[in-house]
């Protein structure tokens, strides 16, 4: 049995310690919001927080989470269900298309803003370059991160 804390709740899971956190979260804990994309930490779809740090859960064994706090996309809204400011900005900027990568994008973005409340473009690039969006919504991701950070942006050109 591996003991860990997931989204504020104490959990015990019966899994091979080498099992990536991704599959424990999805299959053992039945929280499918965290997605499988590549299995080798190249795409970021599986990003979660381990003690507040963003990690690629497809390549991090559950043994590394023993006794630690895991936060997934299901755990970032407020207890009353109020969406995280990053989630709200994501809706406002109409970021997702297919939506499959977005759990990971949002987890990377929330970790970034936690550490750096007013990131520069270069810092956004650095924090978000590990997350692939095949629908190509990078421009909107940047817009949404800045909006969540309260950074003023030039108005969009209207047709």
């Amino acid at each position: 049995m591996i003991k860990l804390n997931v989204n504020g709740q104490a959990k015990e899971v019966d899994a091979d310690p080498a099992t990536p956190i991704l599959w424990v979260v999805r299959e053992n804990l039945n929280m499918p919001g965290t997605k499988f994309g590549c299995g080798i930490a190249q795409c970021g779809a599986c990003t979660i927080h381990l003690d507040g740090q963003p990690v690629r859960s497809c390549s991090t064994p559950i043994s590394a989470a023993e006794g630690k706090s895991v936060t997934t996309i299901e755990g970032i809204a407020g207890e009353d269900g109020t969406l995280h400011k990053v989630q709200q900005a994501w809706i406002e900027a109409q970021v997702p298309q297919c939506g499959y990568c977005q759990s990971g994008q949002i987890m990377s973005a929330t970790a970034l803003l936690e550490k750096n409340p007013r990131p520069t473009d270069a810092q956004i690039d650095e924090a978000m370059a590990g997350n692939v969006c095949r629908c190509g919504m990078y421009g909107r991701i940047r817009t949404a991160i800045k909006a969540a950070a309260g950074i003023e942006q030039p108005a969009k050109v209207e047709a």
Partner: protein, 735 residues
């Protein structure tokens, strides 16, 4: 009217403009019994027809016969229906149609099968009825070809909304004993000004269902649109920011186990034997299957299944492709093109005497271009969950053609269509990959063997190596210019691609004499549609060669295209808009360049100007200016997002995309060797949309893609003088 088969009659439920659409009216004698349980929650809901329902709390639900894969189709189609119906947008809900034959998209089948069909109005019903039969046979309830809005939306959703509205009005007129012409509708309310009566739609839903269907419901003209043309927020987005959106890979079936699969690296080979001695002893393993054409491991968890699969040593049969390398494939293309000579191959379009116009040209231009195989690389790898038991089968997946998926599962399980229930989920990217059904077949076969529900997930490595690829191609051009630098001769021959047939043609460019041919080259790889299909290759070929002709004529690429489009004002406006947005002609920093490209596709006209910075070791695309005319834009923000998305998809391919073949096998496996564009390489994208013809709508999902590669390579030429004739750009050194 001719003689109607029962099925054709069902298909002829709603009519507009003489063209029939698939819709089922709730009237005596119509087989709504079968559909009602699939769509309604209880006795309090009434189906007006199969595209729309109104329930007792006045919620209008639009039933969408397409799948959502990020293109925003749920929202755009609902906007079309709700606007015609005068529904309150805040009270509109959206439901994806069940995978049932009654939802096959007649309008799509019609555009695929008979796009130029012109027949007298009285004859239309039978023609459409016939096409409906064909559509059903083909299992089309299909999302692709950028067809949803321009075909289903324009012909079916709007008509259904207008018909529903007229039926509601007729019911109210009857109850209130007033002329229908005095009744107004707005925000899901029906009112009669003279008597001061006003009631919600729901009040008349039952009575409306008893009304006869209007023969030709009146559609709004654009000045009366209230919801169409507005940037409505997408309905599917909230669930996509909190992890609650359910994709195919998230299917949750009680007792479900997990399968990992591996097919022979050379497509077409079979599994001759497997050594599973280690796999048998590994934790969680339930079954190990040699399915003949692939190996599967079923385990308690997916990771356990994949680990066990990795330990299996399989032997594969020899195939004719075992010694085939990429160079040999392109050599085959060259040989086939050589053999076709001046008159071989299949003629696609011809006008004038190309040999003569070329011989008499003052300036002659020749060029050959090559593009690589490409994988789709959807973020969600292929997956499917199946449960086959007691003569029934349930299948959960994300597929672009649910009816086809259902039939595929039925075939794989040896069951009738009726015995299969297909549950479609959100698609974690489609791009054409999820229009093929190989993964449905595989999961159903595994589940048939186990008897219990199994979720099959492909590894990224499997997804990359076993795709239905975008074909590689070689295209050769010969062009002629007269003494004034005007294009007079266009001769193209290319290796055969896929679809649509108009992709290599240039009817919008005024070049008097042209000849366009293709040659077929057999290949062991499997091909599939890839976002914008053949336009992705031909857009690059054509717009590169146009630029080369412009250069040979001593003109700039924009001015040269202006001349070619001089007689097509709608096209010219799009080109001019993109050029103006980019500040075409203004000075740029050293080693920067601008390139323009123009490609109409899927009914929409798109021009793009790309700016590149060539001061580094590799090209950096800094800005892309897009002008697009899809006729009328139903949802401007959604359409803009599609342009941004298509640019990234196309730019990723132009910069990096290449699937290579060695010993018959695909060499790429994951994102480290099949790289993706990332946020740090994202150009600024500016989009202007033009409503050029509200009666002829174009698509949105694909037309933004074809211009980007040539816009970038033309910009590289402008910056460096280097002409790129082969993609991807990562093959070239710019140091």
């Amino acid at each position: 009217m001719g003689k109607w088969s029962r099925r054709a009659f069902i298909g002829a439920g709603v009519a507009a403009g003489g063209a029939l659409v698939v819709g089922v009216a709730v009237r005596q004698g119509n087989p709504i019994d079968k559909l009602s349980p699939l769509l309604t929650n209880g006795e309090n809901e009434q189906l007006l027809n199969a595209w729309v329902k109104v329930d007792t709390d006045n919620i209008v639900t639009a039933v969408i016969p397409h799948v959502e894969m990020g293109q925003g189709v749920y929202t755009a189609l609902a906007q079309m229906l709700a606007d015609e119906m005068d529904a309150d947008w805040n009270k509109v809900r959206i439901l994806e149609a069940p995978a049932d034959m009654q939802y096959v998209s007649d309008s799509i089948a019609r555009d695929f099968l008979a796009p130029d069909l012109q027949v007298p109005a009285w004859f239309e019903p039978t023609v459409a009825g016939g096409i409906l039969e064909l559509a059903q046979a083909m299992g089309l309830q299909f999302t692709g070809g950028s067809y949803s809005v321009r075909a289903t939306g324009q012909r079916a959703m709007r008509t259904a909304g207008a018909a529903a509205r007229e039926m509601l009005v007729a019911a109210a007129a009857s109850e209130w004993q007033v002329p229908a012409s005095e009744i107004a509708t707005a925000d899901s309310m029906i009112s009669h000004a003279k008597s001061g009566k006003s009631e919600p739609f729901a009040k008349f839903a039952l009575a409306a269902a008893e009304q006869s269907l209007p023969a030709k419901p009146k559609l709004k003209s654009p000045e009366n649109y209230k919801i169409m043309g507005q940037p409505m927020a997408r309905h599917d987005i909230p669930a996509k920011v909190d992890g609650s959106a359910v994709f195919g890979i998230d299917a949750d079936v009680p007792g479900m186990k997990y399968a990992a699969v591996k097919a022979p690296p050379v497509i077409g080979a079979t599994v001759e034997s497997m050594d599973a001695s280690t796999a048998k002893t590994m934790p969680g393993v339930l079954q190990i299957l040699n399915m003949g054409d692939f190996v599967a491991v079923v385990a308690d968890g997916y990771w356990q299944a994949q680990q066990a699969l990795n330990s299996i040593n399989a032997q594969y049969s020899k195939t004719e492709a075992d010694d085939l390398d990429l160079d040999a494939i392109f050599a085959r293309y060259a040989t086939s093109l050589d053999e076709a000579g001046e008159d071989g191959g299949d003629m696609q379009t011809e006008a004038g005497d190309v040999a003569k116009s070329f011989a008499g040209a003052a300036t002659k231009v020749e060029a050959e271009y090559k593009v690589p195989f490409l994988a789709h690389a959807t973020m969600e790898p292929m997956n499917c969950t199946a449960w086959v038991r007691d003569g029934k089968c349930d299948v959960w997946s994300g597929h672009q053609a649910p009816v086809n998926a259902r039939q595929t599962a039925a075939d794989a399980a040896g069951l009738a269509f009726e015995d299969v229930t297909y549950h479609n989920a959100y698609l974690g990217g489609g791009f054409g990959r999820r229009s093929t059904s190989d993964y449905i077949t595989m999961a159903t076969r595994i589940a048939s063997a186990t008897g219990y529900p199994v979720k099959m997930i492909w590894s990224r490595e499997e997804d990359t190596a076993q795709d239905h690829y975008r074909p590689s191609a070689t295209s050769r051009f010969r062009g002629g210019l007269d003494k004034d630098g005007k294009a007079v001769s266009w001769n193209n021959i290319h290796t055969h691609l896929f679809d649509p047939a108009d992709a290599p043609t240039i009817p919008y460019y005024n070049i008097a004499s042209h000849k366009i041919r293709k040659v077929d080259v057999p290949m062991h790889l499997r091909f599939g549609p890839w976002r914008s299909v053949d336009h992705s290759q031909h857009g690059f070929f054509i717009e590169s060669f146009v630029d080369e002709m412009a250069d040979a004529a001593g003109k700039d690429g924009y001015a040269f295209r202006q001349e070619l489009l001089a007689e097509s004002p709608r096209h010219l406006k799009v080109l001019d808009t993109a050029a103006r947005m980019s500040g075409w002609g203004s000075a740029l920093p050293e080693k920067h360049g601008r390139g323009i490209a123009f490609v109409p596709s899927f009914g929409s006209i798109v021009a793009q100007v790309a700016e590149v910075d060539m001061s580094g070791a590799k090209p950096k695309v800094t800005k892309v200016f897009v002008a697009a005319d899809p006729g009328f834009v139903i949802n401007p923000d959604g359409f803009t997002a599609q342009m941004e998305s298509a640019i990234v998809y196309g730019l990723t391919a132009a910069l990096y995309g290449e699937i290579t073949i060695k010993g018959g096998s695909v060499q790429q496996s994951n994102f480290h060797d099949y790289p993706m564009l990332r946020i740090d390489e994202m150009p600024e994208v500016e989009v202007i949309l033009i409503n050029g013809d509200h009666e002829r709508l174009g698509g949105g999902g694909e037309p933004g893609l074809p211009p980007i590669a040539p816009a970038v390579t033309n910009a590289i030429f402008a910056a460096t003088g280097t002409r790129i004739r082969e993609l991807p750009l990562s093959k070239h050194s710019f140091a």
